[in-house]
Amino acid sequence: MNKASIVIIGGGPAGLSAAIEGAKAGAKVLVIDENGKPGGQLFKQIHKFFGSKEHKAGTRGINIGDQLLEEAKRLDIEVWLNTEVCGIDKNKKIWGIRDKKQSFSIVADKIILATGAIENAVKFSGWTLPGVMGAGAAQTMINLNRTLPGKKILMLGSGNVGVIVSYQLMQAGAEVVGIVEAAPRLGGYGVHTAKVRRAGVNFYTSHTISRAIGENCVEAVEIVQLDSNWKPIEGTEKILEVDTICIAAGLTPLTELAWIAGSKFVYIQEMGGHVPAHNKTMETTVEGIYVAGDVSGIEEASTAMEEGRLAGINAAASLGFYIEKEQEERTKIVWNGLNALRCGPFGHKRKNAKDKILASREG
């Protein structure tokens, strides 16, 4: 059985940032990722990020991905790709399968879970028809696989994912027939929403999908208006001709490894449901197992990177690579950055939600 200092599961923005900080501190670091390329969702994020300059605002996600990979390479960080982790335990033993065939088992001194999230499905009549897919899946198709999922698209959900992916689908050559939002108000940042609106896309607030129509695949969609009690209003049904329905209805943290390891969980609706309770160093209730990024509560790539750095710094410090003062100083700097990201009307809500998670860990 092999031994490694810090093992990071998931090589997205959080995982890579954690690895970089761990390696900078002098720890031996291993990143495990199930995909053929590290970077998580960054390489399909062709839009510019928000925040301050320190948070790489104005830089496209795809370029941030390249920067992180270059830095990881420079620090000689070991990355195992096409490697699926199948289980871990509280003693930090990790086992899994490489390249779909070879099993492995290692014991880590510290584990950082940066496994990300999965898109939520929404059920309506016909939701299993080919042509209904996650908005993130559609984004992978256009920006990574260079394939249009369809020509006429209906988007369900007006949050950032919904409007950003709608715009990118249009850039890729598809027509976005409409964006349906069940709430009476739109959910995304103004700048993204306005871009789509200026391009002529119809928004249907207080509407939902009542059914997808089609024999073997989506041929049309029926939408219906909702009253103030979220009940469909009879007679308001509209049929729109589409071949693809994209669902942007939020994400759920991929927490199975944290459950198996025995971490305490807390339910925070705004953070995507059940999330592992963790403290300000990102450590869960299982000693030596940390979380960072969407697995610790759904936010954004910019916050995921900061959380990754927190986990990396503190995992390394607990192995003796930093003295207490250095650990505190470095942690404080990252926390200042996180607090800056979590301000404003959108960020403030996330800050409150994150505070609830921190409180649950201490309580």
């Binding site: 199930e34 699926e84 982790v85 199948c86 289980g87 086992w95 899994g96 399968i97 779909k100 065939k101 070879q102 099993s103 999965i118 939520n120 499905a121 929404v122 059920k123 309506f124 009549s125 016909g126 939701w127 299993t128 369900l156 959900g157 007006s158 949050g159 939002e181 069940a182 709430a183 959910g187 939902t208 059914r211 909702l226 009690n229 979220w230 009940k231 469909p232 942007a248 209805a249 939020g250 759920t252 199975e256 490894l257 459950w259 198996i260 339910y267 609706q269 705004e270 995507g272 449901g273 059940h274």
Partner: protein
């Protein structure tokens, strides 16, 4: 769309759709299990096999939680997700023998 909105939307009855695609379990089968006494996601799983297939409930578990909340009046925050087990990824038995 927030989780809150989705919960409210799913408060109204829909036609009988497949919820668990791996095991092809419909909403009415899940509702029947609940009306027959299932009070947790784990019990629904054992009763119907919903969430027991290849993806281990990755797609359907949140929907099953919401159906359970709607049918029983238990709040979503109080519904415990079904148990996770190793391996958390589908793997071939042969790979374990290596």
């Amino acid at each position: 769309m927030t989780m809150d909105v989705k919960t409210k939307m799913e408060g109204f009855e829909m036609s009988d759709e497949i919820i668990c695609r791996c095991e092809e379990i419909t909403e009415s089968e899940i509702v029947e299990a609940i009306r027959n006494g299932a009070t947790t996601v784990n019990e629904i799983k054992k009763w119907t096999r919903a969430g027991m297939g290849l993806c281990q409930g990755r797609t359907c578990r949140r929907m099953i939680e919401r159906i359970l909340a709607r049918e029983t009046g238990i709040e979503l925050k109080d519904i415990k997700p079904s148990t996770y087990r190793q391996p958390v990824r589908p793997i071939k038995m042969g790979a374990l023998g290596e």
